[in-house]
C-alpha cells in the first residue's frame, strides 16, 4: 500500500519534471543524443533509486519535439532500428530557462514547509 502510494506520488511529480530534465540534458550536451544515450545518462545519475523509468522518456522526447522545443534527425544503426538523434532548439533553450526558474521557485517554496516541523 505504502509502496503504491509512493509510486503514484512519484509519477505525478514526474509529469512535468521529465521534460525539464530532458531539456537540461540536451542543453548541456555538446553533440546530439539519441533516446538510449539519454536514458543511460539518466540511469547513471539515478544511482539505484529509480526516479525515472527509462521507458517513460521516449514519449516525452516525442512530445517536446512536436512542440518544437527539440529537433531530431534519423541515423541508421547497426544494432537495431534507425536512431533518432535529438538537439535542443532556441525555443527549447528559452523554455528551459523559464522552467528552471519555475522549478527553483517551487522547490524553495516546498522546502520552506518541509524543513520546519519535519526535521529530526
Amino acid at each position: 500500500m505504502d509502496d503504491s502510494n509512493g509510486r503514484k506520488f512519484q509519477k505525478d511529480l514526474n509529469g512535468g519534471l521529465v521534460g525539464l530534465v530532458l531539456l537540461a540534458i540536451l542543453n548541456q550536451s555538446a553533440e546530439d543524443l539519441y533516446g538510449y544515450e539519454i536514458a543511460k545518462r539518466l540511469a547513471s545519475a539515478n544511482e539505484g533509486t529509480s526516479i525515472f523509468k527509462e521507458g517513460t522518456i521516449y514519449p516525452v522526447l516525442r512530445a517536446l519535439s512536436a512542440a518544437n522545443l527539440l529537433t531530431s534527425r534519423i541515423v541508421p544503426s547497426y544494432s537495431g532500428p534507425p536512431r533518432r538523434y535529438y538537439r535542443i532548439t532556441d525555443q527549447g533553450r528559452s523554455v528551459l530557462t523559464e522552467w528552471t526558474a519555475i522549478w527553483a521557485g517551487t522547490r524553495s517554496f516546498v522546502d520552506r514547509f518541509i524543513d520546519k516541523g519535519h526535521s529530526p
Binding site: 536514458a39 523509468k53 527509462e54 517513460t56 521516449y58 512530445a63 544503426s77 544494432s79 537495431g80 532500428p81
Partner: protein, 306 residues
C-alpha cells in the same frame, strides 16, 4: 503483475502491444519502435550477457510493459490537449455554416485535394512500374530481391503519405516505421507476404490516382465556379467602363444578371458555393484520413502469428 517477465525482445514487444491494445494504431507503432531501439541498444551494450539476462533487468530500468504503456497513454493525452488550440466555432445556424472558414483543416484539406492529383500520379506510376517489373523479372534471379526492395520502398512512401495526411487532416498517423521482428531473413519475407498491410498499401497507392483525379476535379471546379460567381459583377463592370480590355468578352446570360441589383445576388451565390466547397473539402479530408488509416496502418489487434 505476477505474469512471467518477458525473456526476449520479441516477447517484450508482444507484451507491450497487448498492454496498448485498444489504443490508436499509430501510437502503438511508435511505442514499439521506441522500445525496440532501447532494448536492442541495451542488449548490444552488454555483449557478455544473454538476451534473457538483459531482459530480466529491463523492468527496473526501461520499465515493465504496463508502465511503459501507461506513459505513452498519458503523454499522448497531454500532447493532444496541448496541440489542439481551443477554437471558438459557433455551433448553430449561419455561424456554423460560415465557421468553416475559420477551420484550418478545411483549407489544408482543400490543398490536399489539389495535391492528390500529383501524389496520385507518382504513387500509381511507382506501383505499376514496380509490380510489372517484379512480374517480368520473376523468372530471373533478381526478380525476388527486386520485389522485396519495391515493397520496402512502398512502406517508406506509405509512412510519408501518413505524415502528409496527419499534417493536412490532423488524423494521428504513425511517426515511426512498423516494427519488424528480428527473425531470420526468410521468415521475415514470409511475414511480409502474409501481412495484409503490404497488399492494402499497394491498393492504396494505385487507387490514389483515380481518387486524386476526383479530388482535384472537385477542388478546381468548385473553386473556379464559386470564384467566377463572386467576381463576375466586378469583371462585368470593368469591361463596361473600359477598366481593362479583355473583360469585354464576358457575357452574362440572361442579360439581367448584369444589372446592378443582381450583383449582390451573384456574389452571395458565389460565397455560398465557396462555403459548401469548404465543407465538402473538410468532409473529404476526414473520410480520406479514415480510409488511409484503414489501408496503411496495421490494425491495433495483436497479430495472429506465433
Amino acid at each position: 503483475m505476477n505474469r512471467s517477465a518477458p525473456r526476449s525482445i520479441d516477447q517484450y514487444l508482444k507484451a507491450l502491444r497487448q498492454e496498448l491494445a485498444g489504443e490508436d494504431a499509430a501510437l502503438i507503432q511508435d511505442a514499439l519502435y521506441d522500445a525496440e531501439e532501447y532494448l536492442r541498444a541495451e542488449v548490444a551494450a552488454h555483449p557478455d550477457k544473454s538476451e534473457a539476462d538483459v531482459l530480466e533487468l529491463i523492468a527496473s530500468t526501461y520499465g515493465a510493459p504496463d508502465e511503459v504503456a501507461s506513459a505513452y497513454r498519458d503523454t499522448e493525452a497531454k500532447v493532444k490537449a496541448a496541440m489542439t488550440t481551443p477554437r471558438k466555432v459557433p455551433k448553430s445556424g449561419a455561424g456554423a455554416f460560415f465557421g468553416v472558414f475559420l477551420d484550418p483543416r478545411a483549407y489544408t484539406s482543400l490543398f490536399f485535394m489539389l495535391l492528390s492529383l500529383a501524389t496520385g500520379i507518382i504513387y500509381f506510376t511507382l506501383t505499376v512500374t514496380g509490380l510489372s517489373l517484379s512480374a517480368g523479372l520473376a523468372v530471373l534471379i533478381i526478380g525476388l530481391p527486386f520485389f522485396l526492395v519495391f515493397v520496402a520502398l512502398t512502406r517508406v512512401v506509405s509512412l510519408a503519405e501518413g505524415r502528409l495526411i496527419e499534417a493536412m487532416t490532423g488524423e494521428r498517423m504513425p511517426r515511426r516505421p512498423v516494427h519488424q521482428s528480428q527473425a531470420g531473413f526468410w521468415s521475415r519475407v514470409g511475414q511480409m507476404l502474409k501481412d495484409r498491410r503490404t497488399w492494402t498499401t499497394l491498393a492504396y497507392l494505385i487507387l490514389m490516382l483515380p481518387l486524386g483525379v476526383v479530388y482535384f476535379v472537385i477542388a478546381v471546379v468548385g473553386l473556379s465556379v464559386s470564384l467566377a460567381f463572386i467576381f463576375a459583377p466586378l469583371v462585368d463592370w470593368a469591361g463596361r467602363y473600359g477598366w481593362f480590355d479583355q473583360a469585354g468578352d464576358l457575357h452574362l446570360n440572361p442579360a439581367w444578371l448584369g444589372a446592378l441589383w443582381a450583383a449582390p445576388l451573384l456574389v452571395l451565390a458565389g460565397v455560398v458555393l465557396l462555403t459548401l466547397l469548404m465543407h465538402l473539402a473538410r468532409g473529404i479530408g476526414r473520410l480520406h484520413a479514415m480510409y488511409a488509416k484503414a489501408l496503411l496502418v496495421a490494425p491495433a489487434a495483436p497479430p495472429a502469428a506465433q
